[in-house]
Every structure is written in structure tokens, then in C-alpha cells.
């Protein structure tokens, strides 16, 4: 079986995000970029399936600016086999919206015929949490979102999902789209030999036009603001004092 793993280049989770002065978005120039952490979990899961002998090939696909090639190389260094880079933007500030991404992915899926698509449940930059669901809908495939456990067995998969109030276990027929949640696994480090090998793994370069998809934005960003600054706390001497203060603040 072949597995397709879409990976997104996003602002690194350690970076202190700064809003651009004109409020049009977050400043991404000269900022450290990395693979979306949920996508890293998806890549790791695919590699584990390959190590378990259930998967023969892992194909990564990234849609965005040319520099997303580095994101693919990172996944190749973890152990994926080859990559497809869809150059859909020139400006690092431009985000490709979920529906356009899902439409391109649907075309890639038609070409590659994977038995399974594993992807992050959402990207940490805009937190849309939509692309996996949209892809499943476009393909008419089963979907298993927010996966914290994945077992592939023949032509079906058993997936434990993290839902409000607990865990839900479902069985889906393959092919299917699985979106990875935080607790699915802990991604590995790329080993030195694999980093060197990744240089030689193939990456095909495409454009949205190759797939006949229009990526022009449908959403308009009206305003971007910093989150409110957290006010300093106060240390109280006793429970009584705490209760008094809470009453004064009108919260109890």
C-alpha cells in the first residue's frame, strides 16, 4: 500500500509570533519556518506503518512557496520515500486556503492512488482544521479525524479518535483520510545517515495549473491583532483573602 502525507511549511512553534504593523497578518519574513507539528506526527505514523510492513511507499506532498521543498526534505530525512512540491505561491506571506489545498490533494490522490492519506488535523498557523475533511468529501472517502491510535488491517483501519469527553473508536474502509492528533505518536529525529540520504530522494515539482486548480483566495483577512496581554497575578495570604478578592472582583 502507498501512503500519501501532505505536509505544510508553517512558522516554527517556538517562534514568538509578531503581527505586522499594518495588521494584514503575521510577519513571516526572516522567521524560522518548520514542518507543521501535526504533519510531523502524520509522517511518523506513516513511517511506523512502513516499518511494520503494512506500507510500501510514503509520498509527501507540500503546497505553498518554493521553500516548502525544505519541509519535504525534512520528511524525507525522517524516512519518507519521495516528494511532490506544488509551487502555488511566490510570496511567503500568502497562505493557500484549505479548499484549494484539498482540491489539489484530490488530484494528487487520483494520480498516486494511495490506500491511505494521513495528515495533521490542522496547521498551527491558521488552525483551520478543514483540509482533511474537505479532501475526504471531495474523494467520497471515509474520514477518521483527531486520531490518537491507528491500526491498519487489510482493507480497513481501526482508529481511536480524541473527541469531547473521551475516546471514540471507529472502523473505516480504505482508502480513507486519517488526521493526526497530538497523542498519536512522538516523531523521531532525522538520523545523520538519513539526512544525507534525503538529499538524493526525488521531489517532483508541479504547479496548481498542472492540476487545473485555482488557488486565488476566497477569504479576506480584515484584521490581525495580538492577543490581549495577560495581567499580572497577585499572591494572596489565605483562603479568606482569596474569597474576599474574588467577591470584590465580582466573579463569585
Amino acid at each position: 500500500m502507498k501512503v500519501l502525507v501532505p505536509v505544510k511549511r508553517v512558522i516554527d512553534y517556538n517562534v514568538k509570533v509578531r503581527v505586522k504593523a499594518d495588521g494584514s497578518g503575521v510577519d513571516l519574513a526572516n522567521v524560522k519556518m518548520s514542518m507543521n507539528p501535526f504533519d510531523e506526527i502524520a509522517v511518523e505514523e506513516a513511517i511506523r506503518l512502513k516499518e511494520a510492513g503494512k506500507v510500501e511507499e510514503i509520498v509527501l506532498v507540500s503546497i505553498g512557496v518554493k521553500q516548502a521543498q525544505e519541509t519535504i526534505r525534512t520528511g524525507l530525512a525522517m524516512g519518507a520515500d519521495r516528494g511532490i512540491l506544488v509551487v502555488a505561491a511566490e510570496d511567503v506571506q500568502q497562505d493557500i486556503e484549505p479548499l484549494a489545498v484539498a482540491k489539489i490533494l484530490a488530484k494528487v490522490v487520483e494520480e498516486e492512488q494511495p490506500g491511505l492519506v494521513i495528515m495533521g488535523k490542522q496547521a498551527i498557523d491558521n488552525d483551520m482544521n478543514a483540509t482533511g475533511q474537505m479532501l475526504a468529501a471531495l474523494m467520497g472517502w471515509a474520514q477518521a479525524t483527531f486520531a490518537s491510535k491507528l491500526d491498519v488491517d487489510g482493507d480497513s483501519a481501526t482508529v481511536t479518535r480524541e473527541v469531547d469527553g473521551g475516546l471514540q473508536t471507529i472502523r473505516v474502509n480504505l482508502p480513507a483520510v486519517v488526521t493526526a492528533d497530538l497523542r498519536l505518536n512522538e516523531p523521531r529525529y532525522a538520523s545523520l545517515p538519513n539526512i544525507m540520504k534525503a538529499k538524493k530522494k526525488p521531489i517532483d515539482e508541479k504547479t496548481p495549473a498542472d492540476y487545473g486548480v485555482d488557488v486565488s483566495p476566497r477569504l479576506e483577512v480584515v484584521k490581525t491583532t495580538e492577543p490581549p496581554v495577560r495581567k499580572a497575578g497577585e499572591i494572596v495570604g489565605s483562603v479568606d483573602e482569596l474569597v474576599t478578592k474574588l467577591k470584590d472582583a465580582g466573579v463569585i
Binding site: R73, S191, L192
Partner: protein, 391 residues
Amino acid sequence: MDFEITHEQRMLVETVRGFIKDELAPLEQEIEETGQLPDEIARSIFEKSRALGLYGMNIPEEFGGGGLSALETMMVEEQFGHTTDILIRRAFGNVYEVLLSCEGPQVERWLLPSVRGDRVCSIAFTEPGAGSDAAGIRTRAERKGDKWVLNGMKHYISDGAFADFFVVTAVTDPAKGHRGISMFLLDKGTPGFNIGRDQPMMGLRGTSHLDLHFDDVELTDENLLGTEGEGLKLALSVLGRVRLAQVAARSIGKATKVLQMTLDYARERVQFGQPIGEFQMVQQMLADSAMEISAARSALWQCAWEIDAGLDPRARISVLKVQGSETLGRVVDRAVQIFGGMGYSKDLPIERYYRDARIYRIFDGASEIHRGVIAKSLLKGGAQLFDPWGA
């Protein structure tokens, strides 16, 4: 001139950084308190690191190493500086490049097992009467028939307790001065070779520093590393890169880590109603540290580039030995000052960095020795050190 860090280099550094943060940093405090890294934990971090290809990265691929360039070696060595000496030794190996001089049966016996991590090597040059003055050693190896007989002692030999074998310098021809010194590979357990006491040190907790005693130790020609009488020449030709890596790059990495912690503290610590980072006298210390680290790293990369270009930047390595270690000294001293009482307290690792930093200005040739090397190079016409346009 291209200062771009390649994506491969970035991935490698991220793997090393992540490994240090997740696998090594959690062990530091206990080693500091007990002075010990238990064998089973040492084994475990070694195996994890080896599985990632992080052991012996400085050694060429043909001998089973990672095959990193000098520049890449400096990049990962800088990261090593974020953790402690003993953890670097166990996780990443101190596979000395002097072992690349192994020939014939020596390759299988000493070089390859060291790169695999099956055998651990330690360098034994220092004697009570010969520190920086490496030619002043008194350990003697005398030719007797087809054997060598070794007598004398070494001290402060790092990792002596753990090492399986040692690279030992000994006088083979007293009449020839520094041209009468040779290097030998000496296995632990060889009759007449005894391990003495462990010298407790100011810092570097967990690493042993032992006396070695040689009492009529019989060796063969197979134990002779390189050519007879060329021990010091060999040491000079290969130990420069080790010095750049283990002293300069690690110093710069340590200074970087310490400044990161200091910046966090300066942002968070509030006195007189504002974070102490808002006070100009604190700001001056932060700015000075950042400037010095940045300058030292640029110089380090230039020096590594010169090595990769096939040059022999001996005097520049001395510059970096002093620049790196003294930058670290100043940065960590300012850190203690900015952290104040917390910096002096054993509840935070700042005081440990302060103690560990001090040796960097001393070992592998004290600052004064290297300043001498630099000055001699300048006076002999080596203006390249400070004037790339030529005199």
C-alpha cells in the same frame, strides 16, 4: 562569500539539539550531585545516539564515522557545548582524529572499535612537570630488542576510569628534545600499567581525571602510533582541529546557552517595578555578551572553512582557542552577575556553567601559551591573521 546554512546542516543541528534537550539535559543535575553517570545510563544514551548516527561524526565515512566537514563538525560541537563534558563523551564520543594515523593491524585493533564505540580512547600527554610544555615530559619508552619498555607517569587524564586504551606520549630519544618524543597506543590491563587516583576537580563533574603509572610496561612496534620521534609533530598536526572543536566551538555553544538563559531571566525578573532587562547596566552586559559570541562564531566558521579548504590555520586556531574560551568566561561571569543570588545558588545551573567554564582557558594550552603562538606568528609576518589584504 556565502554564510547560508544549508538545510542539511539545519536538520543535523536540530537532531543534535533535540537529542541533547530530551536525552542528556535531564541527566545533568543528578550527575552534578552524585559525580557519577551510572554505566547502564551511559550505555543507553550511547546506543540511542549511535542509532541516530551521532557517534563519531567527525571521523570520515570510510572508517565508519559521520564524515562531517570541519565546518559541520564545529556546528555540532557548538551544540555539544550546551551539555556537560561527561555526557558529550558518552553520547557522541571523543574519537580523536590522531587515531586516523593508525596503520595495518592498528586500524582493526584501535581505530575502528573507537569509531563504533566498542572501545573508548583517552589522550594521555599531561604530566606533573609537563602541562603546556608538552616537550617537557619525562615518561620514557626505551627500545629493548624488539620491544619498547615504558616507565613514568601521567596525570589529570580525562576519562581515565572509563577509557579502554590511551594515546601516551613518551621520550624515545632524550638527546633529540622535542624530536625525540613518540606516541604509543596503550591498552588498559597491560602488565605494569596501573591506574592511580581520581583527582577531584572544580567542575566537569562525572568525568574522571586520573593518574596513570607505567612500571616496565612492555610494548611492541604495533603500539607505536605514527613514526618514531614524530609524536609531537603528529600531535600538532591533528590536535588543532580537536582544539577548535572541543574548546573553541564548545565554548561558544556554552556561552550561547548561558546567554539564552540570561535573557529569559532578564525578561522575567522584576525589581523596582520593571524587568531587570530594562536597566541600562544590565542591557550593556547583554549586548556585550551577544557581540562577543557573534564575533567568535564568525571567526570559528572562518577557521573551519580554512581547514576544509585544505589550509593549515594553526595560528588562527590559537586565536579561536583564546577568543572562544575567554568569551565564555566573560559571558558566564556576567550571567552570574545578572542572576545575582540565584546565579550563585546551586538551585540553578548557572554556577555549574561558571565552574565548568574556567577550565576552558586552561586546558589544551593556556590562553598565555596561545597568545604566544599568535604573537610569534604575527612577528614572523603572519599578517593574514588580522589583515586578509596582505601587508
